[in-house]
Amino acid sequence: MYRLGLRLVARSGREALLRLILTSLAVAIGVAILLAVLAEFHGFQAVSNRPSWESTSGTAVSTTRATRGEELWNYSETIYKGRFIEQLDVAALGPRAPRIPGLARLPGAGQFYASPALARLLKTVPAGELGDRFRGHQVGLLGDAALSGPDELAIVVGYSPSQLAALPATQVVNRIASAPQLMGTTNLYRLGFGIATLIILFPLLSMINTATRLAATRREERLAALRLVGATPRQVNVVASVDAVVGASAGVVIGVFLFLAIRPLLESISFSGVRFFGYTVTPTLWGYTAIVVMVPLLAALSSLVSLRRVWITPLGVSRRTTPARPGWWRILPMLVGVPLFIDPLVSHPGKPDGTLAFLGLFLIMAGLVLGGSWLTMQISRILARTARGPSGLLAARRLADNPKGAFRTSAGLVLAVFAGSFIACVVPAFAAAQTQGAAAKLTNVLRVPLAMGPFSGLDPKTGAQLLSHLDSQTGVTVVPLYVNTAGSADSIVSCSAIRALPALGSCDRGVEAVQANFVDLLNTDNPIFFNKDLPAVTHSSTPTDESFSGLYLSGLLVKTTGPDTLERVRTYLTDFEAAATESSLGPASRKGGPNAFQMLAVQPQTFGEVAAIRNNDVDNVERVVLAIVALILLLAGCSLAVGVAGSLLDRKRPFTLLRLSGTSLKTLTHVVLLESIVPLVATTVVAAGVAISIAEPPLRALFAANLGPHQSFASAAHPDLGYYMTMLGGLALSALVVLAAMPLLNRITKPDHARFE
């Protein structure tokens, strides 16, 4: 039987060869995509499971004698043009001091190891903007084990024990942390990858299923002929499985080569914002094995499931029963889901019931997938009523005959379009809320907090030095904030200084200084609060006539004219901090304690950088979702092409007869185009429409919860022009895919080829 099956595959002429090629190509594209997803996931896992030496913690520096297996450790982060640089200052206390992974030996005093990306930057950027932040000279590169990706900026700087012990926040470490760092977003990404894999898997399997069932009707006729001469159902299954497995196996082989061809491209992009090391972007041997085994197996299974009709009768498909029509109950979950999702958000915008909203969202998505076939049937009825020519009528009848089958190729697309549209609505509105308003005018303003928690601020003498240097720089404007001697959390700020940054507000006429709250503006990492706190100075701010001399600095707001100036200021602040520490806050004079600036692990950031960090997370989510949508669009396109080709091969006889009886090729083209595109357009429009219409309430709820009713940023929860262009482009591409199958229609229905076996 296996031999007969192979014989049927190998010697079945051009049409069967075409079917085999189409099946193999469709499966190949699916396999390549699946391998790419697995490879990216493995790259992501490699990063998130990496031992996180950055999380190492130790004990406070003590005067007791250190052991030989210890070192002094001071970890901090600095920023260069919006990118974080991990900086580890380290001093070995003995020959067995522990080393971080990727480092052959600890740097001596005055030496440093940089990551390859940082080393490149240090060579190209003027020292005043970056290099001066790190003391010493480079003696080597950090190995991959120390880094999460090839673009990571990191540096390990060597100090003498006495130098490093003098720095605040230095600790004694005898063991490097080896556990992975579980960030808030790690599990989110992991979940996202899981969901994405599932969302992609659904249309992928659907396409492989469509591909292996290509021209199923004609194949079933052959198998029915075998049944007639006494082939048992089991023997027929073997023949059909051999056919499916050969096509799928060829597809797997082509797919693996296709994946290997696009792998360099995969290494150069990253969906989660951080590029992975190339060698981690691999599906692994297990992934390859699973694909190589599972895809042909699934193909065989899918082929067997589709052959249930031949099980029933050796007369094949001639006596098949019409499939049951989809009922209206299919859209019920969506009808229930929409109010369930919106009501909690509208009625309790400050504190909506998340469980109900999520249940609503799930029901909406289930309703879209379930209700698609019902919708297709309704559309076909409308088409049948309104059709003016024979092509509309033929297409409508065909759709009405099997709406479930017609919708099947679009089922995966619906969820993708829904998710993509929802994200395309929410993300721009979210980003706009963060960048518009008064905060937008502070984008290039550097926040330098100097007083926080127990730290009293920068002493008047050092503060005066700092201000004097900054004031002398061109392109730099400083607004100093002073500690309020009355003990209030409000800072004191000069009204003349405020005029340099009008976004901060303005004083009443004649007032020279006011008390105002800058705590959140200086410290919060959530940009959504910036606008809540602006303007900081209003006519209700309490005037004060206190003299600034003798006051501690509680913070600075520094406006710069460009990115290079900004980095110069940041480098100067780092240098100034180190110098100030050594001169005035060394071990001998530590009674006053360090100020907040010195204790901060992260260097000062601009308002724009704070927003960018938060936006980056949102952008990553958007990028991942849009990548999934793009992949699913690609899959849907392939599915469509395969489905159209299959349906043409299946209907060779009726289409040829129609052509013989005078129906023009143009009419037949219209029929195929209509019956393929109509379900696609209908489901896309409905899915996008539902997503756009339900996107605004959650945004309103979010902003109402965080900003209060006086702010109104949720005004424009609709996608931008690019989104609409993408959707239109996708549909146009689908139409082109269908049109690309038309030469096949012409060839197989040529009257001079009309011959039926």
Binding site: E221, L226, V229, G230
Partner: protein, 257 residues
């Protein structure tokens, strides 16, 4: 109800249907049809379109399971058998010649003829030797390597005939075997069918709506509204105007009514 056997009471029927009822959805096809066919007989089943004659043939051949009634083959009840057993029976004991679609167009003439033997796991060499031995008998010399999609309608029916007979079945079921052929080619096919089955002693159950085709049968029954009724004896077929010679196969034997 007594099953009509029409004068062949001496030998027990090789195929028999008793009170067969079969519907497709709400459409009744058989409504208590009974028929018995003695071994070696050529029975013509006639009737207008939609009368249920093909359904009767499919029930007797074990393709359809009747909703009610009993089907016997060679004294054994077969309507209760499972799909696999009925498939095996079709492969071993039955041969089929239908109007359309019974050949696999991707396979060659030889492949198609050898198919029942290959399915029965006969050694490949033996199966093809047997298939080749039928080619001259049916005037298919030189066509063995052709795909069935590449031969004429009459040749395709002769291939189907060879395939139906290659494993020496006890019953050949023929459903409108000449329906897609012109009258001359149709008669050639019928003469071959009749002559070879008589030579082999094979029973033939022939469904047709053409009196000329039914005239080749020993006996004729009429299916009307799902019932089987006795029909007049078939008239002798007229001889083709230009005579009839096909290959080196046996010439039609006496119709023996």
């Amino acid at each position: 109800m007594t099953t009509p056997t029409f004068g062949r009471e001496a030998s027990p029927p090789i195929a028999e249907g008793r009170c067969l009822v079969k519907s497709f959805g709400r459409t009744p096809a058989l409504n208590g049809a009974s028929v018995a066919v003695p071994p070696g007989e050529i029975l013509a089943v006639m009737g207008p379109s939609g009368s249920g004659k093909s359904t009767l043939l499919h029930c007797l051949a074990g393709i359809f399971t009747p909703d009610a009634g009993e089907v016997y083959f060679d004294g054994r009840r077969i309507d209760h058998l499972g799909e696999t057993r009925r498939s095996e029976m079709r492969r071993r004991d039955f041969g089929f010649v239908f109007q359309f679609g019974q050949l696999v167009p991707e396979l060659t003439v030889e492949d198609n003829i050898a198919l029942p033997l290959l399915l029965a796991r006969l050694p490949r060499r033996d199966a093809y030797a047997a298939a080749r031995s039928w080619l001259p008998r049916l005037g298919l010399d030189g066509l063995g390597a052709r795909r069935t999609g590449e031969v004429s309608g009459g040749e395709a029916q002769r291939v189907a005939l060879a395939r139906a007979l290659v494993h020496h079945p006890k019953v050949v079921f023929a459903d409108e075997p000449t329906g897609s052929l012109d009258s001359l080619t149709g008669e050639q096919v019928m003469e071959l069918l009749v002559s070879i089955t008589r030579e082999e002693g094979t029973t033939v159950i022939l469904v047709t709506h053409e009196a000329r085709v039914a005239a080749y049968a020993d006996r004729m029954v009429l299916v009307r509204d799902g019932h089987v009724t006795v029909a007049d004896p078939p008239a002798a077929p007229s001889k083709p105007a230009d005579g009839f010679t096909v290959g080196v196969g046996p010439q039609p034997a006496s119709l023996g009514r």
